[in-house]
């Protein structure tokens, strides 16, 4: 560990300790009567206003994905990486359509997970189990991405990376992870909500400084763009193809436009199917808070676009480009860029921001996965009469188990581009779209048809992703493949298959009058606000008369 910069290292450690302190103190912040209840531990008492919700959702949405994975893809392949920008723009109008409805019906019935809603809407434990399984599975690679992000920063800092002993090498990662695990366990959702303030302050600081300062060091934006354009047009000696694209290309050059659009659309629809984004939403105090956030959150997208451009800055800076090439790891582009451009104390602030920016969402995601398991697997199938305190305890333990699962994804899957971890999660979570988004608007779909469609989408998506090969890896190398002559995000092709099967089988099952299941929700509950609650649902209400 001879090449560790003392100043950078000290600042990262100090900021990390501050955040840890905040994490533990968070247990007392705005606390209700008892912490040992899932509404408290898992939803922060369901009392967050616009301001806190904005930070909480921002903490969910802008993660190591933003700071490490997206710039890495931009650095390696050019304009295709900007699908992430298009996605974070598109996501807000899309969820504007369905998220307020989900908030309302969940508030009326006390749902805290997407699977709760599925169960209530379709009266199907099997479908709810499928939703819970998908949520937990899809979160693991997403949490793994956060780990890879932290690891990238630690590598560039020189911590542990010089050791050949794999345990010593990963030791800082384990320590960071342990701290995260413990304060999540103690404070629940309050910890990441409070830390999100610290995190966002750090992030805005270093991103704005970087965006205005680094281009002055690299000969201005025009030089950065010109260098990138020339770089991606040059032909790789290995593949005999251009290194990347400077703007998405049309059909004649092997279209990346279609791929770009399908990646953006798929990611946008997927985002608010993830249990952790739904958790962040359900923690809001009233319906208008959810809507207002759909209007303010695009401000975060602006930040993402600027961060994506760090990938081009890394291309335009010869020292950074050489460092990344030497290590053969595109994930190191942003950390190397900062290290080369900033004085060591400021590099420390930026690195701490990235690390904390990965820990916050990892905490939120593991809480969401834990809530899912407890609500929809444990109390549903294992111990139905579990007390609230027991449920909370189970969730706390599961949040640890999920993190270990994520560690496996981080170790096992190739990280040529860590963004594929998130896209893999997206392929799976998108398979909930027909039952969840569909279910918010119509009770037309038959539960068994939805289950069959889901299974087909999951199997097709997983096999297709497994079969994507690259010159360096034979499996799991990417998230897009070619269907009917177009390169398309596998998540989109899988969910189309899912939907077709769900529609076709619904016709069949309705024709043979298969039992439809009980719907405990009522039409007006999808537009209810906090004033209309509590309005206990009448017991034994049949299928939605409006559908």
């Amino acid at each position: 560990v001879s090449n560790v910069n003392g100043v950078t290292f000290t600042i990262v450690v100090v900021l990390f300790l501050v955040v840890t302190g905040v994490g533990f103190a968070a247990a007392r912040w705005r606390r209700g009567g008892t912490m040992m209840h899932l509404d408290e531990w898992g939803l922060g008492g369901r009392g967050f206003g616009t301001f806190v919700t904005w930070f909480l959702l921002g903490g969910d949405l802008y993660t190591a994905y933003t700071f490490i994975a997206v710039p890495a893809l931009v650095f390696g392949s050019g304009s295709i990486g900007f699908y992430a920008v298009a996605y974070t723009i598109m996501v807000f109008p899309i969820v504007f359509i369905f998220l307020p409805r989900l908030w309302s019906v969940s508030r009326v019935h006390g749902y805290i997970t997407p699977a709760d809603f599925i169960r209530g809407r379709y009266g199907s434990r099997g479908l709810a189990l499928a939703a819970a399984f998908t949520g937990i599975l899809a979160l693991m690679p997403y949490i793994a991405l956060q780990l890879v992000g932290i690891q990238a920063v630690l590598t560039v800092m020189g911590v542990g990376a010089s050791s050949s002993n794999s345990f010593v090498k990963d030791l800082p990662l384990f320590i960071a992870f342990l701290v995260l695990a413990v304060f999540t366990y103690v404070s629940g959702l309050r910890a990441p909500a409070l830390i999100a303030f610290v995190k966002d302050t750090l992030i805005y600081l270093f991103v704005l400084v970087a965006v205005f300062y680094i281009p002055t060091r690299l000969g201005g934006w025009s030089h950065i763009f010109d260098t990138a354009q020339a770089h991606f047009a040059s032909v790789s000696p290995a593949t005999k193809k251009p290194l990347g694209t400077f703007v998405p290309t049309s059909a004649s050059l092997g279209s990346t436009q279609f791929d770009f659009a399908s990646l953006a659309l798929g990611s946008a629809v997927a985002l608010f199917l993830y249990p952790h984004s739904i958790t962040g939403t359900l923690a809001a105090k009233r319906r208008s808070v959810v809507k207002r956030n759909m209007i303010y959150l695009p401000m975060y997208s602006l930040l993402l676009a600027l961060i994506a451009l760090f990938g081009y800055m890394a291309v335009a800076d010869p020292v950074t480009a050489a460092n990344v090439k030497r290590t053969g790891n595109a994930q190191l582009a942003v950390p190397y860029l900062f290290q080369h451009m900033f004085p060591s104390w400021f590099t420390g602030i930026a690195f701490a921001g990235i690390i904390i920016g990965a820990l916050v969402p990892a905490a939120i995601m593991s809480i969401a996965a834990a809530n899912l398991f407890t609500r929809n697997v444990y109390t549903e199938f294992i111990q139905p009469d579990a007390s609230p305190a027991r449920q909370t305890r189970i969730s706390q333990w599961v949040s640890l188990v999920v993190k270990v699962g994520a560690l496996l994804f981080a170790v096992e899957l190739p990280h040529t581009f860590s963004i594929n971890l998130q896209l893999l999660g997206g392929i799976w979570i998108l398979q909930l779209a027909p039952m969840l988004i569909g279910g918010l608007f119509t009770r037309w779909f038959h539960r068994w048809a939805l289950l069959a469609g889901w299974a087909a989408g999951m199997i097709f998506g997983t096999i297709a992703a497994y079969n994507v090969a690259s010159p360096t890896t034979s499996h799991w190398a990417g998230s897009s493949d070619i269907e009917f002559g177009h390169t398309i995000y596998i998540g989109i092709s899988a969910v189309i298959l899912n939907l077709v099967i769900a529609v076709a089988l619904t016709f069949v099952l309705k024709a043979v009058r298969a039992p439809a299941g009980t719907d405990e929700t009522l039409p007006h509950q999808y537009t209810a606000d906090h004033a209309d609650v509590p309005a206990p649902a009448p017991a034994g209400v049949g299928a939605d008369p409006a559908s």
Binding site: I97, V247, T249, P298, L522
Partner: protein
Amino acid sequence: MTQASTRSRSAIAAHPVISAVIAILVAVSILLPLITPIYARTGPRLGDFPFFYWYLLIVMPVISLLLWVAAQLQKRITSEDVQ
């Protein structure tokens, strides 16, 4: 059927024009970033930024504004019905 359900149902029926405007605002907000061929080009530049890059930056506040208008309209048609 409760009072609340007739309220939300009638909001669309009672204000077909405003409801249609809301739908269009949301649809346009999705299509602006989705239709890649609109902006997959390098020129014209704005300052030093090629078209593809400044389009993505400009479209964000535009969508924020469109959604804000949509939310205001929605508030108007639902709160009127409460009275």
